[in-house]
């Protein structure tokens, strides 16, 4: 099995199959992060794709100081926050014409209805958090980065991350308990 570094080298020489393997390796993590940030909406798929397209276009700039997963997650968070800002702007602009957001219905026969329901309720609870809190909750609690790594990724003091994380957990707990 090739390492990320080997696959990147092959992909930067034009090996599409190597790049496909990288996408397959990280797609689940990135899609989870983006859908956690944006919800199960059509734009989430576009943003997740954009993460890999951005990486493809700037592969030469990747120095490998952080792991590829961390690097891609950082791009995913930035693009998701941009999408949230764009969404907020268009919501303001077209408030009178706005409709409730369409949710993607991704059929997965291997999933039990209980699991689907649980996944859906967690997704909704995450969406109820403010973006700043949601980002931290996803990085720390869903993606499993440490508080230090989360702080470094978001360029925030560790204390800020810890306090936002505490508030996010309280809110998530309250929302999920109320359901």
């Amino acid at each position: 099995m090739h390492t990320d570094k080997e696959l990147i080298q092959l992909a930067s020489k034009g090996d599409q199959n190597a790049f496909r393997l990288l996408v397959e390796r990280y797609q689940q993590q990135i899609r989870t992060t983006v859908i956690g940030m944006l919800g199960d909406v059509p734009e989430a798929d576009d943003v997740a794709q954009s993460v890999f397209i951005r990486f493809y276009q700037s592969m030469d700039k990747f120095r490998g100081e952080a792991g590829l997963g961390t690097y891609l997650t950082r791009i995913a968070i930035n693009l998701s926050l941009n999408e949230l800002k764009r969404r907020q702007r268009s919501l303001k602009r077209f408030l009178s014409f706005s409709k409730p957001e369409r949710e993607i219905d991704i059929p997965d026969r291997s999933e039990s209805p209980e699991r689907m329901e649980k996944r859906d309720s967690i997704s909704k609870a995450l969406q109820a958090l403010e973006p700043d809190f949601r980002t931290i909750a996803i990085l720390r609690l869903v993606d499993g980065y440490s508080v230090k790594e989360t702080a470094e990724m978001l360029q925030l003091p560790m204390g800020t991350v810890a306090s936002r994380l505490a508030r996010a957990q309280k809110k998530l707990k309250a929302i999920l308990r109320a359901e």
């Binding site: 899609r31 794709q49 909750a137 309280k170």
Partner: protein, 136 residues
Amino acid sequence: MDREYDQILNVLIRSLDGALPASEEAQLEEALRTSERLRLEKARLLDLRAELKDWSVPEDPDFAARVLSQIGKQAEEDLSGVIIRLFPRVAAACVMVLAVALGTIYLTDGSLMLDTIIGVNEVVLEEAVMLVDSGF
């Protein structure tokens, strides 16, 4: 009372993400020993964290293919973009070369007739016949 509880709850939440100072750790241990409510809260928090850790979206087997297709499309768009960007410059350069060539012909021959432009007027009939005979 609630404010005190809230403070110790914050300590509890922080304890799940890293080591606490010794004094806070002792305070939390004591509170957990005496408060059933806090113990329950800890259990709920651990459940919540386990649920979030397990939370992931369903697999999408076509995702990689969609990404590669988008990259292919973008590469095509980039190429046509380059052509569109370069076209006005190339066209302007061609027009300039043509204008200079026509200007030079006009200055040397004083005319812009088709024969002058293609140089036919400089060839006399005998020379033309000789050129044809020589197999040119």
